[in-house]
């Protein structure tokens, strides 16, 4: 392990010149029923430990909610899974075979991990439909992209997703002109277009009305099973409405894990998080 770690630090992606790093197999293998393994992960920013020896396992097909106070490391954890941030120590595997720490963001996306950001980021200058087209699972190399034309099947797929997210009427509208909630939906739609094995959804209902929230809950629940969904959320009502299993993060590591009721009755959780006004 020691030598491997050394190798890893010398071969860090953000340090360039690592052309030679061999890529591990890119076929997802979930024969053991677990889709994501995060083991012993630590990240330090300028002396501040954002993630501290985090261990987290996600089963294939489950819908997991992750909660925790601000600064608990939720977004940083997402950054590590999607390749935006590299941990100082630890391992992150997608299924049995894919070492996430060796892949770049696009590679991670292409093996089947999709992410919705906390702040909705859609391509503002593109139409709703173009946003979905860009996100669609397809050959994403340069030349195929230049000559790509939408096939009837792809059109149908885009239409289907448009319907799911309720934006049929806005398909030709510039994404930048959508409301905040609509952008959230569009982003979820983009996630769907990617057809990923694992969806990471960061605060999906921020800025949504209650009706929209309910629809989102329905959508996420319907996705679970065929996809694995990890949701980070602050809104406890929303979490309660969708979650089977909840993980509480605190100061960069897992504080408690279980059903919403179990978690809510956990003394440590009450102390650090639910003890305030937020939980009832």
């Amino acid at each position: 392990m020691k030598t491997l770690d050394t190798l890893r630090t010398t071969m860090r992606r953000d340090q360039v010149w690592e052309i030679m790093v061999p890529k591990t197999g890119l076929e997802l293998d979930i024969s053991h029923g677990t889709i994501l393994y995060l083991e012993d992960i630590s990240v330090t920013f300028d002396g501040f430990r954002a993630i501290d020896r985090l261990n987290l396992y996600i089963d294939a097909g489950e819908l997991r909610c992750i909660i925790g106070p601000n600064g608990a490391g939720k977004t940083t954890m997402m950054d590590i899974i999607t390749g935006k941030t590299r941990p100082d120590t630890g391992t992150a595997w997608f299924g049995q075979t894919i070492d996430l720490l060796r892949l770049s963001e696009p590679e991670i996306a292409s093996v089947g991990i999709g992410r919705k950001f906390q702040k909705p980021t859609v391509f503002e200058h593109h139409s709703v439909m173009e946003n979905l087209e860009l996100a669609m699972a397809a050959d994403k190399r340069v030349w195929p992209t230049l000559v790509a034309r939408l096939t009837p099947e792809q059109h149908a797929r885009i239409d289907a997703v448009l319907e799911t997210i309720g934006l049929q009427a806005h398909r030709a509208r510039r994404a930048g002109a959508l409301s905040h909630g609509q952008k959230q939906w569009l982003e979820i739609g983009m996630l769907l277009m990617q057809d990923p094995h694992l969806l990471l959804v960061d605060e999906p209902v921020a800025g949504m009305t209650h009706q929209e929230m309910d629809r989102t809950a329905e959508l996420l629940k319907s996705l679970a099973g065929r996809h694995t969904v990890v949701v980070v959320e602050h809104d406890m009502d929303f979490v309660r409405s969708i979650a089977n299993k909840v993980t509480v993060l605190h100061q960069g590591s897992v504080l408690a894990e279980g059903t919403m009721d179990e978690v809510q009755n956990d003394a440590r959780v009450i102390e650090v998080y639910l003890g305030g006004d937020e939980g009832h």
């Binding site: 360039v16 010149w17 920013f45 300028d46 940083t76 935006k84």
Partner: protein, 543 residues
């Protein structure tokens, strides 16, 4: 030639007199000397090489303090004979023909036309003799520096007479440096001694002496030396000398590098504030430097009598001028473009063109002369190998002062605190009651003012013209980016190291190629570490 002279009766007399001078009371010698002086002058007046030569010998051996001026004038071919009365004068060209000076009293003696005078001719042999003679006379000069120069002058061509004189003088010499020089000269002469032991002793004495003559002398000894022990010692001493020479050579390169680095740091440090701390790409930064240089020029024009004082006054003046222009730019243009760095780049580039053209139109399209005060020239001679020029010393010191001042402003004043707060989190700083607009303007003014101060320094080193700024803008950006944006120390380290690297490369790559190599190095470096040498860490920087 000295040996030939030695055999002549006159030389014998001179030798005697030299010894006498060393031993006897000064007045006695002076009395004996004045007769010789007159006799010598009479011989010089004949203007025939052989007799002038004897005359010089006599004048020199008179040890008269007045003799130096005469001989030095002769050496410079400034000694003339007035045809009318056959008197000698030092003559210098002037509007009305020649100005005459009495060679002994150094008192002005009227003027003369070209036809009234006849120059005392000298040939190479005389020139060489004169050099030694003047140096010998200067050995007893009251000024230590003159004595030292005299010793160095005669170090590698001592004749028996002057050697004997040196041996006498060395014992009484008070000044350590001069005494060391004299010992070296004697040792150098002793390399010719018959006994190997004495030669080795002489070599030991020469150890570590960096006078160029020493190396030559030992090399000549090695060429003819048969004795193994002496050879070994000579080689060891020579090697030691070479090492020392390399060391000083490196020190000199380092010094040049640091002074170049200081220029880079000065040029870049204002940018480290505006670009590094505020994130504003100010392409007009170079022109703010240029304005500082022009301010120096104008202040000097206002008080042409006090160049040095003008330079000092120019520092605050340039700070105010460039700072005011900077605030104007910030309020007029940049504040509308925060968060749009590429647009800022274009707009400030437009401003740089306008400022350049403004200077061309209002002052002159040509370079303007900026005077250097006297104390800027000259150099500090550490030893015969290493001398540090004063202007470079001042630039290094000035750079460090400016850096320290700026650092203190950023660290210790409330403005600095507010600047750092705004640069880290604008919204939060605002919520805490920081007036961010005012802080932006003041920060930009500070960075611009520093650029102006840099301009004052640069005006002393390079040509001041409308293009001055352009030649520094790319370098400045390189330094800031290389050092790590938002980090004053990084700018200092980056500027200094780039300067040193540049100067180390220069001897084998040439100035232009060295610069190209440094640029390529930075381009590659940024690929490797996009955030520079000292990146700002943390979550925010990950953005």
């Amino acid at each position: 030639m000295p040996t030939r002279l030695l055999r002549s009766p006159l030389s014998a007399l001179r030798l005697w007199l030299l010894v006498a001078l060393a031993l006897c009371a000064f007045a006695q010698a002076a009395l004996a000397g004045s007769a010789e002086l007159e006799q010598g002058i009479a011989l010089i007046k004949t203007n025939k090489y052989d007799q002038v030569e004897e005359g010089v010998t006599l004048v020199a051996s008179s040890r008269d303090p007045r003799a130096v001026g005469l001989l030095a004038a002769l050496q410079d071919s400034d000694l003339y004979l007035r045809k009318a009365d056959g008197r000698l004068f030092i003559a210098t060209r002037s509007d009305a023909g020649y100005d005459l000076i009495d060679p002994l009293t150094q008192a002005p003696a009227g003027t003369a036309g070209k036809r009234d005078l006849k120059r005392i001719r000298i040939n190479n042999r005389l020139r060489s003799q004169l050099r030694t003679a003047v140096a010998t006379l200067n050995l007893t000069h009251p000024e230590a520096s003159v004595r030292l120069a005299a010793v160095n002058e005669m170090l590698d061509r001592l004749d028996a007479d002057s050697l004997a004189l040196l041996r006498d003088l060395a014992g009484d010499e008070k000044n350590a440096e001069v005494r060391a020089g004299m010992t070296a000269a004697i040792a150098l002469a002793d390399l010719n001694a018959d006994e190997p032991a004495r030669r080795i002793e002489a070599l030991d004495q020469l150890e570590g002496n960096l006078h160029p003559a020493v190396q030559g002398g030992i090399q000549r000894l090695l060429d003819r030396e048969q004795d193994e022990a002496v050879r070994a010692t000579a080689e060891r001493v020579l090697e030691g000398l070479q090492f020392k020479r390399d060391l000083y050579g490196f020190a000199e390169t380092l010094f040049f590098g640091l002074s170049l680095g200081s220029v880079l740091v000065l040029a870049a440090i204002g940018l480290a504030i505006t670009f590094g701390v505020m994130g504003v790409i100010n392409m007009a930064h170079g022109e703010l430097i240029m304005l500082g240089a022009y301010t120096t020029y104008i202040v000097q024009q206002l008080m042409p009598e006090h160049i040095g004082l003008a330079l000092f006054l120019a520092i605050p003046a340039a700070f105010v001028v460039s700072g005011a222009v900077g605030i104007l730019i910030e309020r007029g243009v940049i504040r509308f473009l925060y968060g749009r760095p590429l647009e800022t780049l274009l707009a400030t580039f437009g401003i740089s063109l306008i400022l350049q053209q403004l200077v061309r139109t209002l002052i002159s399209p040509q370079n303007v002369p900026v005077a250097n005060p006297d104390w800027m020239s000259g150099s500090w001679q550490i030893n015969s190998v290493l001398s540090l020029t004063m202007n470079r010393m001042y630039i290094i010191a000035f750079c460090l002062i400016v850096f320290t001042a700026l650092y203190l402003v950023m660290r210790r004043t409330s403005l600095g605190l507010q600047v750092r707060a705004v640069s880290q989190n604008r919204a939060m700083a605002r919520a805490m009651g920081v007036r961010s607009a005012r802080v932006d303007a003041l920060t930009f003014g500070l960075g611009s003012g520093i650029a102006g101060v840099a301009g004052v320094a640069l005006s002393q080193l390079t040509n001041v013209g409308p293009n001055l700024g352009q030649s520094y803008i790319i370098d400045s950006f390189m330094v800031v980016v290389f050092g790590g944006v938002g980090n004053l120390w990084g700018t200092l380290v980056a500027g200094m190291s780039l300067g040193v690297v540049n100067k180390i490369l220069e001897p084998w790559a040439g100035a232009v190629l060295a610069k190209i190599l440094v640029l390529i190095f930075i381009i590659l470096f940024i690929q490797k570490r996009p955030r520079g040498l000292f990146p700002q860490k943390g979550r925010a920087a990950e953005g």
